[in-house]
Symmetry: C2
Subunit: 425 residues, 2 copies
């Protein structure tokens, strides 16, 4: 391949945009390109961010080109005077900018189809360095452009994320596969999601297992949802081998962790609970106090939730707990709103009021005010009524109001998931 | 100042970390540094991301140093073998790495206070290039380090965001202020938030006003919440002048846009509605269908919401609409659940059932299924019962389920906000 400077499947990325340096926009394209190319066995070995300045762009691209011979640039291809990427790269390759008439016609027709006249400034977007290859952009007016000489190849891509991604999938990846026929295996990973166990306890449970998964590594990613485990093959395995190794590693983790694993990938716990209810033809009624509708909102995010989600009550006041889900007044006065007894009565009440098969409830102190010595901020009771049993749990959570509410919602959903699995088993 | 290469208040940033290039972590530090330094009148004129590789780090820092004479590095200061930043920069300055005994003692004591013995690997974190300045890190074991020679200054900072930020505030910013005594005004901005008007319509309303705000510029930032307006002073004004100009510009925008403006900064609409209810000593009852608890969750996010939020009903089924908020069955059969009549009955029913001063309700088709020719996906009715009047609005929303739910919640909150303001006026 002309211009390939290194046998290694390595590229550099240059992101262009003053707003990126000012921190007003995050360089999401850079992170995405890193992940996408790693999945092809191609490494991004350097990335730079430069302002919309012709000299700075030319300088950065020249340095990157000298280092790897393959440079992907994003941004600075708009129709305005601020957009200097085309001119900078044409200068670096000592080429004139010439209008690509075919592309100009495509853009003109697109405007015409919407009953619009193309602005004269869009003409600049049809300019490419003489002899460059143009890759059509189906989603916007700035095409992808590839320029090469003996030093290597430079690819220009628009900065709009969905336009950049489509051009990378359709044109850049196929071209890079040809350019680097001999490349290592992909960086391939899979996320196994756990909840209801502390990161440190999870680490202890897996301590002897993790070395056995080599060459795969396992990273612990704790969040308010629990701890995700990211299993990764770093390139020593082929695509097919990596897939098989990930399958085997996932199976080992599931075998070891059992019910602690609730999903893989980016599936959330609410989606898992919804799918479990739907699969069993069961319905749910909900009563939330301190989570204030969070669980309800998460559950009804799933399309088709109406087949299994009957109704939810945000019973914020004691009045509402009595009126809407029938918590007896004497239970409230004897134990307080934040108690196992009230949580249990709320879960049963939500089930009874809605006529559902299951009831789920949360009551607690999310703070910052409302804590007492006996029931400090972070004291939360969750209850699930499934079958003839009501399971109640006490949580003692740390963190601020946001964290306590989020963790409470997650724990309540997990209690329901476990009860559904146990009731079926 | 020794080593100042350019009179301009310009720095370069080098972020170190293989995981940043693989796209597994976003370089949030880079964006934050850009914003923070711009607020001091200091420009980040280039940023690069390099792997945990000594040669690559040394190379990138050398290039950046030659360009501006002031380089800030983040990351690669951990205790493990992977962390190469110290060694790379010591090499670049031809200095030995020496242990800073005072810092080693600080770290040892911190471990001791928690009843722990310092791991030997932490010793590496007390190493600094001979003659460098050490800035203590109150939140972690890797200190800030500053090395200078005739070429300029290089600052090393840990990659953990809250550690980096504290070191920048406490040490880097004061040092840069001395280093660049003559610098332009800050990049200072303010966000004015609007909702309930399309970006294009907003643009037309402001068309003649925006040029009058020069030298400030106004950027339009559309999102599911509405369109934010970011007013920015780019450095031609002093800090004090910029503040006064932002005040004046905000006043002009508010005067022009009136009730369309709901907040400034990062205050959300739910917080505004909550504060308005609290200020008037009024209470709220809520009935949600397609938003499924989203509005409730957003409102109860505010600490102290229990003083004005009485209860919410997620009346997903027709049964629930009748049972919980008393929507008459004949209204449901005559007009359907998604209708102005039912929305209105839900708002009044939520108010009546909870005994609140106000009622708010949403019913609609969030999709992807459930749409009809007469009521396609995106058809949503919102209703607010305030005082003796029930206001109902029909929304025709585009987008997917997530977007429709989010936009419906925002529109309902905005309807309540406007009704509260009008009722008071």
């Amino acid at each position: 391949v002309s211009g390939a400077r290194t046998p290694e499947a390595a590229v550099e990325v240059v992101a262009i945009g003053t707003e990126l340096l000012l921190g007003e926009t995050m360089d999401g394209n850079g992170a995405w390109l890193g992940r996408r190319l790693a999945a092809e066995g191609i490494r991004v070995v350097g990335r730079s961010v430069v302002p919309d300045d012709e000299a700075a762009i030319g300088d950065a691209v020249a340095v990157a080109l000298a280092r790897t011979g393959t440079v992907l640039c994003s941004g600075g291809l708009g129709p305005t005077r601020d957009d200097r990427t085309r001119a900078a790269v044409a200068g670096l390759f000592r080429r004139r900018l010439v209008v690509d008439d075919a592309w100009l016609e495509v853009v003109r027709e697109r405007f015409a189809r919407r009953g619009l006249v193309m602005a004269p400034s869009n003409r600049a977007q049809a300019e490419i360095p003489e002899g460059a290859v143009l890759w059509p952009n189906a989603r916007g007016t700035a095409p992808g452009i590839r320029v090469e000489d003996a030093r290597g190849a430079v690819v220009l891509l628009p900065g709009v994320p969905h336009e950049l991604r489509a051009l990378v999938e359709d044109h850049v990846v196929p071209w890079l596969r040809e350019r680097f026929p001999l490349r290592p295996g992909p960086v391939a990973s899979r996320v196994v999601r756990t909840t209801g166990i502390a990161e440190s306890a999870l680490g202890e449970r897996l301590d002897d297992l993790l070395p056995q998964l080599a060459p795969l590594t396992v990273a612990f990613l704790p969040s308010l949802d629990g701890t995700d485990l990211r299993i990764t093959s770093w390139g020593s395995l082929s695509s097919r081998e990596a897939e098989a190794a990930l399958d085997a590693a996932e199976a080992r983790l599931r075998e070891r962790l059992g019910i602690l694993v609730y999903a893989t990938g980016d599936t959330g716990l609410a989606a898992v609970v919804g799918a479990t209810l739907a699969a069993r033809g069961m319905t749910l009624g909900l009563a939330e106090s301190c989570t204030g509708g969070l669980i309800s909102a998460r559950l009804t995010h799933a399309p088709g939730a109406s087949t299994w989600f009957l109704a939810g009550y945000v019973t914020y006041s004691n009045d509402a707990k009595q009126r809407d889900v029938g918590v007896p007044a004497d239970l409230l006065s004897a134990h307080g709103a934040v108690s196992a007894e009230v949580a249990s009565a709320m879960a049963e009440g939500a089930r009874r009021a809605t006529g559902a098969d299951c009831g789920l409830a949360v009551t607690g102190v999310a703070g910052p005010a409302g804590g007492t010595e006996a029931k400090p901020v972070g004291t939360v009771y969750i209850a699930a009524a499934v079958g003839s049993e009501v399971a109640v749990r006490l949580l003692r959570l740390g963190g601020d109001r946001f964290e306590i509410r989020h963790r409470s919602a997650q724990a309540a959903l997990d209690l329901l998931r476990r009860r559904l699995l146990e009731a079926a088993g």
